[in-house]
């Protein structure tokens, strides 16, 4: 819009005031209800209001779930899910002994109650990024980890989402400071895959080492100075290795393919801290983008920030996510696909 040119002539002003007055005094509430209300439920059957502890607000309208949310979800879950996929299903063997040793030490180091902040960036390839779809674009997450706890502040374009797991094991999400979702409380059945995703988000890389990538060759590059060059499919193909740090490079074995990951690189410092993780990801065999985790700092921020209430305003609504059992998971997926246009 060109605000400078508004009402530049007297007649423009008359028409402008007329339209403004008409808009101000029209009651558009019935129209808004007609637009917003009659759409298919997407969330209502999965999220039940549990403790509107402090708020009486209860919106019942639902929207058709745009397909782009899949991209959004993909981006948000890239950090966890891809690493899960990365490690899942690989048999540990002696040829990977060095890598296993390194990763085991990393796991021990990350189980300590130390707060670590990572900057997580998703950089899409130009081909993957549809500019008019913000959720396929770059995403940035500030991820804090502390043992098994973590919380992340994710931004996708102009959208923002906070999520985490607290010291009591409560997994939560918040879409705004007025609304939170308890995804799973301690003792609630949690799909194993989600539990593993949480472990990855906490950067503890624990028991997964037992089932490392079966389709990837892991190569440990010992402490060195200088650049490490490698065969990356897209984007960055040279890595500035800090003095004294080790690298573990995961590369698909010849003749193998992976649905999501082309290759990965981990940088580990002498204190066995994972200081950098880079994932090169694919979609339908085509480059999707690069996700990188970079250690920003270690600190002592305390446990409060890992809890949902810390991120909510007073009076915020907290809802509880009802997980479906494993036998219902397929049904849930069908429901999600059905409502996507």
């Amino acid at each position: 819009m060109d605000n400078e040119k508004q009402h530049e002539q007297p007649v423009d002003r008359l028409v402008g005031e007329y339209l403004e007055r008409l808009a101000d005094e029209l009651d558009a509430s019935s129209l808004i209800s007609r637009i917003c209300d009659p759409v298919q439920p997407v969330v209502a059957d999965e999220i039940v209001e549990e403790q509107a502890s402090l708020s009486t607000e209860k919106k019942t309208s639902s929207w058709t779930l745009p397909f782009s949310l899949n991209a959004a979800a993909w981006t948000l879950s890239t950090a966890a899910a891809l690493v899960v996929a990365f490690f899942w299903g690989r048999s540990f063997d002696l040829s990977s002994a060095d890598a296993a040793t390194v990763l085991h030490e990393v796991s021990l180091a990350h189980s300590q109650p130390i707060d670590r902040q990572y900057l997580v960036n998703f950089t899409p390839t130009p081909e993957f990024w549809k500019k008019n779809r913000p959720f396929t674009g770059p995403a940035q997450t500030i991820l804090w980890t502390r043992g098994d706890q973590f919380w992340g502040d994710a931004k996708l374009g102009s959208y923002q989402l906070v999520y985490g797991r607290d010291d009591e094991g409560l997994l939560w999400l918040s879409t705004s400071s007025s609304k939170g979702i308890e995804l799973a409380r301690p003792g609630d059945p949690l799909p194993e895959e989600i539990a593993v995703a949480c472990v990855i988000n906490s950067m503890s890389i624990p028991t997964l080492v037992d089932e490392v990538l079966k389709d990837f060759d892991l190569t440990v590059i010992g402490p060195s100075n200088g650049h490490y060059h490698f065969d990356a499919p897209f984007g960055q193909s040279s890595f500035q290795q800090s003095p004294g740090n080790s690298l573990v490079h995961a590369k698909l074995k010849l003749g193998h393919h992976h649905a999501l990951i082309h290759s990965a690189l981990m940088e580990i410092d002498p204190s066995d801290t994972l200081v950098c993780l880079i994932l090169w990801t694919v979609s339908d065999g085509e480059p999707r983008g690069t996700t990188s985790f970079n250690l920003v700092k270690t600190a002592n921020i305390g446990e409060e920030q890992y809890r949902l209430p810390f991120h909510l305003d007073e009076g915020a609504t907290i809802k509880k996510h009802q997980y479906k059992t494993s036998s219902q998971v397929g049904e849930a997926s069908e429901t999600d696909r059905e409502v996507a246009p």
Partner: protein, 190 residues
């Protein structure tokens, strides 16, 4: 285990949260834009019921394709383009069955209650005159004029009306000329 399984489950988990967020975002966007969009449509088709139906349809079509657009960035322009097309199509298909003379009292809202009677009367008279004058314009000129005062530049109006920038300026110029003539009395007081 197929490595894509955990991805899908994780995705499902985030999707539900984002859907809540999107629902609020879209509701807020509709609430913010609907009054102006409806006023614009009423002015184009001169009938509130028809305008509401057309505007509702435009919103729903746009929202059903929200994955293709950045509503925050482009939504309002796309909405007004859609409403413009819908209203022009409707106007061109339909022969007028109502008198413009009847419309001001029917469609113009009452003035705000805090205004005193003289100002109320003047504004009502002026608004009615503007409403009638706009009604006498061809619908494309009316659209060009109203889009202009809503803040759209000539090239944007051209895009919405699917014409050239030059033609958009011509439409705007003609609309101004006729409105100036129709509203001459009021313009002298401005």
């Amino acid at each position: 285990m197929d490595p894509i399984v955990p991805f899908e489950l994780s995705e499902n988990l985030w999707i539900q949260s984002i859907a809540l967020y999107m629902k609020d975002e879209q509701t807020a966007w509709v609430q913010q834009t609907a009054p102006r969009a409806l006023a614009y449509a009423i002015s184009l088709v001169r009938d509130r019921t028809i305008a509401e139906d057309l505007v509702q349809d435009c919103y729903q079509r746009l929202l059903s394709r929200a994955d293709r657009y950045d509503l925050r960035k482009d939504g309002t322009k796309l909405l007004f383009k859609s409403i413009t097309n819908a209203c022009i199509n409707w106007t061109q298909r339909k022969q007028p069955t109502i008198s413009f003379e009847d419309l001001p009292s029917q469609e113009m809202p009452e003035a705000a209650s805090h205004e005193g009677p003289p100002e109320h009367a003047i504004k009502n008279e002026l608004a009615g005159a503007v409403h009638q004058a706009l009604g006498k314009l061809p619908v494309d000129q009316r659209a060009a004029m109203e889009l202009h005062v809503l803040g759209y530049a000539a090239n944007e109006i051209a895009g919405i009306l699917e014409t050239t920038a030059g033609n958009a300026r011509v439409l705007l110029h003609r609309a101004r000329q006729q409105l100036a003539s129709e509203l001459e009395t009021f313009l002298k007081e401005v």
